[in-house]
Amino acid sequence: MNLDFSDDQKFLQDEAKKFFDKEGGLTNARAVMDNALDGDNELWQKIVELGWTGIRIPEAYEGLGLGHLELCVIAEELGRSLAPVPFSSSVYFFTEALIKFGNEEIKSDLLPKLVSGEVVGTYGIAEDMHQATESNLTVSVTSEKINGVKIAVPDAGMATQMIVVVKSNAGTDLRLVDLNDASLTVTPQKNLDTSRAFFKVEFENTPSKLIGESGEGWTYIQHLLDQAAVLFAFEQVGGSQAALEMAKAYSMERFAFGRQIGSYQAIKHKLADMYIAVTLAKSNCYYGAWALSSESAELPLAAATARVSATKAFQLCSKENIQTHGGNGFTWEYDCHLFYKRSKVLSVLLGSEAAWKEKLVTNLEKTNTLAKG
């Protein structure tokens, strides 16, 4: 039994933690928020220099050729520091889409540029404020040209390329477009967490390239979502732990009625419940990490479980961190709201908790027996 990261992976995680601390921790997210930036470009360049954008890219394409587990430990630290960079869009989605489904021409063109930072990728799925399904897609492709509007596209301000889920003659396609193409318009959209930027992307006869087989796009995107769900869950666990640590630290230093507030059971039990939620989520993430890294057929179930569990943990920890801070927690000055807002964005960005619970149960329905622990 070895449900644990290797010493090398733990070392990498430790390095990542030190890196984000040294680079200013939460101050980067706050700076992006206060200055309405698309993201922290300087931090992103340093991440590129560390080689992390090429973690999963094979050495033949100038990447580090490592596995998903290395990505998991970095995700946890990104989540802990609320790093305002397009890592999830570019690395969990765009890069994975190319590695898994791209043809040789696309891979040899773009993968080295993702390593060098010349290319930053993102993805577009949502078209309105409903759950996207294969049948309600309206953005479409005809003769390689895309028309329609995607919304809530993350990081399109920093990204240079984008994967778009579109309706095609064969069903659904994944298509690659150049965000600098004159035929498309990228407009920032207001959102709850301004440490992350979201955009409307309007396509008008925008040229595109097919990723993988035409008609297989919906299957591809479900797989990419499952993979990303595990990595997002690690970010959520990292954020949960940071929020819990912040609540703990405050409960030790704040006095009320002559005592540290952390000595009251009302606070202790609240923090214990946060710890329970984080621990369950973390263990479910380890299961997800195993399924992801071993390419297991259990990935859809493991991903949904990690996702639901981590979404609950981060939302609980971030809201109860505010509560523990009392009035201070409601001020712009204290960092509590950074976690609260990021937890909300991460909870919807891949689809709602309800949608993932439905995925979880749909997978349970297919299972005949469950292994007992």
């Binding site: 039994m1 070895n2 449900l3 644990d4 990261f5 587990l69 819990l244 703990k248 409960s251 030790m252 005592r259 540290q260 952390g262 000595s263 009251y264 059971q265 606070i267 202790k268 039990h269 923090l271 214990a272 419940d273 710890y275 329970i276 621990t279 369950l280 989520a281 973390k282 263990s283 479910n284 380890y286 299961y287 990490a289 195993w290 890294s293 071993s294 479980t305 639901v308 569990s309 609950k312 309800a354 619970k357 439905e358 979880l360 149960v361 349970l364 329905e365 027996t369 469950l370 292994a371 007992k372 622990g373």
Partner: protein, 410 residues
Amino acid sequence: MDFNDTPEQAKFRAKCREWLEANAELKESKGSGHSDSSLEDHLKIAKTWQQKKYEAGWAMLHWPKEYGGIEASPIERIIWGQEEAKFNVPGGIFEIGLGMCGPVMMQYATNEQKDRYLAPMAEGKEIWCQLFSEPAAGSDVAGLRSKAEKDGDDWIINGQKVWTSGAHYSDFGILVVRHDPDVAKHKGLTFFFVDMKSPGITVKPIKQITGQAGTGAGFNEVYFDDVRIPDSQRLGEIGDGWKVAITTLMNERLAVGDARGCDIEEALILSKTKDDAGEALIKNNSVRERLADWFCEANGLKYTKFRTISALSKGEAPGPEASITKIVSANKLQAIGNFGIDAGDMAGMLIDENDGVSSFQGAWLGAPGLRIAGGTDEILRNVIAERVLGLPQDPRADKGLAFKDIPTKA
């Protein structure tokens, strides 16, 4: 990351398996066991099985070699436990003795006493119980009031213990009592072992909310009326009772306290098979949401356990993650039991004439006890907050007071 044994672990597992296959029968289905037999029969079967294990060296794996164990590592104990659980064998009778009473005797008893008591304990010839909780000392067990008064070379014990598992069939017990009410709570306690057949001891089974009393490893009240214990049966110094009790409880740290009973698997089977107004229950969205929540909890606990085992497997000390197990599993058991009863709709409260209470009804009836036994939900949250997160202790109203001056009523 993988779920495989190391080569040494695989070898040990194969050894366990080989002996078990030669000496016991595999369980035909989950849950089959000896539960239908009378207590007397159950004890007989359990003692025979323990004797068999003892002769083959499987009885007390973790004990030091000088007391007949093989000093098995925590991971080997887990592997043995996993394999033994697959066979139709009795359990639950000797765990308190082998897990708590044996180690405390090894640490504090005289050599003659160790020679006299340890082997029969390991062989299953003599059963031991633990006498700590009292009617007025549950979560605050150091507030116990049973008295010990010195009389020559003996101590005279008066008072009452409660929630003593197996007292009705035990031969010996370990006991904490108060020898001095004039000093602070934790300072006035002394630790003994006692012959449960001593004159003045009365054991009364507790009738639980399940309606059961004195069945299986059930709970008891134990009354002490002028019970004489020789001073030679004192374990540790006079006044060190709390220290000895804590060591005893530390020996049980590996017990993760998973609340057994129906779980997500049973809830899922019921949801798929049970008709609800013409459709399977699982088509109901409120059911689906709860299944998702319980699966996240059950799966989270399962992999939490795997993380603990992984640490042990590498010879590392496990992290504090196992501290969440009982709170989560006991509450989940209560919720799933409740769900199973609700599935019977207007007639859900009825008990089957032939089969008795269903596994869901049993879970619902038993779960309130599991949320209390071995640390209430509230005490366990304090433990997580104080020992895992490092928050300050509650201010204690009894701090610095002599035990006799501690308030007990408004």
